[in-house]
């Protein structure tokens, strides 16, 4: 249930996420060492267009990547087929996109 397009999308989003995840982990390590608080996190991120772009692109990528991944898993283990499978993929990716967007906005907007 994975044509070349979805395959490419999954791989490309993975490639996009790769540096972003590394960056995120770096920040986390740094943050954890400093002892973490809401205020500290927010003070760093809020109002920064760069962080918005950083986490925003991660959210876009991961919502596609994970939705495709789940699509495959659901198809192979639960036997769900098209068109239900397409709807599922869409719903999952929109849901992740929505939740992710909310989170990103929460931490980057003032």
């Amino acid at each position: 249930m994975l044509g070349v397009r979805l395959y490419m999308l999954q791989r490309l989003t993975a490639l996009i996420m790769a540096p972003l995840t590394l960056g995120h982990i770096a920040v986390m390590i740094y943050a954890v060492q400093g002892g973490l608080s809401t205020a500290e996190i927010l003070s760093r991120t809020q109002g920064s267009i760069w962080w918005l772009l950083f986490y925003g692109s991660f959210v876009v990528a991961v919502s596609l990547h994970a939705a495709i991944g789940l699509r495959v898993i659901v198809h192979e283990t639960l036997g769900l087929k098209r068109p239900a499978l397409n709807i599922l993929t869409l719903v999952v990716s929109l849901l992740l996109l929505f939740m992710g967007a909310r989170a990103v906005l929460a931490v980057t907007l003032t």
């Binding site: 249930m1 994975l2 044509g3 070349v4 979805l6 395959y7 490419m8 198809h75 192979e76 098209r82």
Partner: protein, 242 residues
């Protein structure tokens, strides 16, 4: 005949498309004995209705494959001693194919997918023209040769969990054949092949589980062939878009 009088305890799957169960038989152990010998012995001496399939008995035709102790194998060339578990054996029909009866499966889906993957020659010449001169050492030819000795036994097909979960997935053998043809200088089907392996059941569904390569009795490497197809389709994906 030098028989040692030990006995094998053989569980054999009995049933049809819909249902079945294991049945236990006791078979005299012999010095040189293959799984196929054991199965035939049961049919010829204990239960006349046991169904299974074989033809060449030397690993060339690929019609005798079964699940032996949970693993797909060619039975005519699997020595009992190699797989025996104590004195126990379990023999079942190949996984991932519909069962016709007992140990015989319907291999049509496997071959339908072989053709669906464009696993057939696309001629560039006729019988009235001379045979093409082809350098046997060229990289393309080496690539084509790597998978050419496939006996379409379906062992890889039944080892693969992606096949189990995804009814449309063309499977390792068909995709390997497509890759072989893709590298055949005489074949004009490159585009058709790329198209065929890029669809909903194509090479992109493979998760590189590698069971195909582990179990292929001819030591072929379908996993690699599939990875190469992914590479080729990726290339053509970007070429088309720029």
């Amino acid at each position: 005949m030098s028989a040692n009088c030990d006995e094998l305890e053989v569980s054999v799957w009995r049933g049809d498309r819909l249902s079945g169960h294991f049945e236990v038989f006791h078979v005299p152990a012999q010095d040189s004995q293959t799984i196929l010998d054991v199965v035939s012995w049961i049919q010829q001496n204990l239960d006349a209705t046991l169904s299974y399939r074989y033809a060449c008995r030397v690993g060339m035709c690929g019609s005798c494959a079964m699940m032996v102790n949970g693993v797909p194998r060619w039975t005519c060339r699997t020595h009992v001693k190699k797989v025996m578990n104590g004195n126990k054996l379990e023999v079942a029909p190949l996984r991932n194919l519909p069962v016709i009866k007992d140990l015989a499966t319907d291999m049509d889906p496997f071959f339908d997918k072989w053709i669906a993957a464009e696993g057939l020659h696309h001629p560039t010449k006729t019988r009235d023209e001379p045979i093409e001169t082809i350098n046997p050492d060229s990289t393309m030819r080496a690539e084509a040769n790597a998978g050419i000795e496939c006996i379409n036994c379906s062992v890889c097909y039944s080892a693969c969990d992606t096949v189990a979960g995804n009814v449309d997935y063309l499977g390792p053998a068909a995709l390997q054949r497509a890759w072989t043809l893709f590298n055949d200088a005489k074949d004009s089907g490159q585009n058709a092949i790329l198209e065929a392996v890029s669809g909903a059941g194509g090479c992109h569904n493979c998760h590189s589980q590698g069971s195909c390569t582990v179990f292929c009795p001819n030591e072929l490497n379908p996993m690699k062939a599939i990875a190469e197809l992914k590479k080729a389709t990726t290339k053509s994906f970007f070429k088309k878009r720029v």
